[in-house]
Symmetry: C2
Subunit: 206 residues, 2 copies
DNA sequence: GTACATTGATTAACGCCGTTATTCGCCCCA
DNA sequence: TGGGGCGAATAACGGCGTTAATCAATGTAC
């Protein structure tokens, strides 16, 4: 019971923090706010996390898993490399726009605001790029993709998708641009740019 | 003299804030820090700016101009639309990486951290996208670019370049990826994706 | 059964932050 | 000589992350 309640409190802290991230954003996520929400004093959180950064790192861990789950599912839903790659692109953007609480702390927060993500955990985070690089590699071997350095191609895709997610969710894109058009263009763009058959007219609509 | 010193103090505040942004980042940019640097009390800043947001907005104004200057110069340095577009892409990335103090407040800072940039100033900021859209339009009319919606194409380019800048400068890109390779790939990628002649082998190295 | 140690939790405090209200000192002009 | 206006400073408010000290309850050893 004591042990279970300990874990329960830790979970309550994480859940409350995640919920506060969605409602008020990282800018107003504070130890005191979390504490008020769960009915404890702020210092009690330090019995379970050694700092605010530590708490956020735990949430990043969760986010990495959620994204990996989503990418894996997309990857498994199609058989051809080009379809797998495009599905993962769409899954990535969907994750970024639908789980902004995770996306912000994973990929947006400036390193100045938060201690560096522990090195040993980078491995897990990198798998989310490698699963895309794998699709590129498969496509190359089966001849539908041109010969490229898979990790470079994956990173190029990542930067494209990351740009779409961040500029859309920070509402910096002109409202006269339909978000879905931009997302469609970006995803097809990523795939078609490394395809041998390349149908240029499908890259950008209109 | 009184008038000049007033403007002088305002400039000193802006310059000090900009310098602090480069050295310690927005996370540690505070009214009290700026004040200490210029030898005034923190509240004196409020005689020239009505809030911290207002001060940062003034800096954003400057950044928009600096970027526009850089894009215009790049645009004027080449005659063909494809070269103009690529030059502007490289200028954009260079601006993002070399002037992180401007880039952070212009394009990275979450809207939660800062009041929205005043609507009437968006026009000026949008010109930095329109100058790219113009190159796309020119290329279409002269036949080297495929038929696309110019503003959508410009936004797609923007998201690609923004992704490169932010992921590189937040050091989230694996160190085994050479930054210049990624930048090269992104810039060529943007241009070649809308070119009719398209030489796929030049899009990605190796 | 009593003294001690452990442990979950709290309060108080430190030094930051943006911002506001108030006050001070000084120059100009009637 | 006396205000009026104005640049600037101090004090203060409520918020922040974090640490130190304390408290109360629970076991545990003798």
């Amino acid at each position: 019971m004591s042990e279970e309640e300990e874990k329960g409190l830790r979970r309550a802290i994480l859940d409350t923090a995640r919920q506060l991230l969605t409602t008020v954003g990282y800018a107003r996520l504070s130890m005191r706010n979390i504490a008020k929400e769960i009915g404890y004093s702020a210092t009690s959180i330090y019995l379970h996390f050694e700092s605010k950064d530590d708490l956020v790192h735990a949430l990043i861990d969760e986010g990495v898993d959620v994204l990996h789950e989503s990418l894996s599912r997309a990857n498994a839903s199609f058989s051809t490399p080009e379809h797998r790659l495009e599905a993962m692109c769409r899954a990535y953007v969907a994750f970024g726009l639908e789980r902004p609480e995770y996306y912000e702390i994973m990929y947006v927060l400036h390193p100045e605001y938060i201690k560096r993500y522990p090195v040993e955990k980078y491995r897990k985070a990198r798998r989310n790029l490698e699963i895309m690089a794998d699709a590129v590699r498969d496509g190359m071997e089966s001849g539908v993709f041109r010969s490229v350095e898979p990790m470079l191609a994956a990173n190029l895709a990542w930067t494209q998708l990351h740009g779409v997610v961040t500029l859309l969710s920070s509402e910096r894109v002109d409202k006269r641009i339909a978000p879905d058009d931009l997302i469609d263009a970006a995803c097809r763009h990523v795939v078609s740019s490394i395809c041998t058959w390349k149908d240029p007219s499908s890259v950008l609509p209109s």
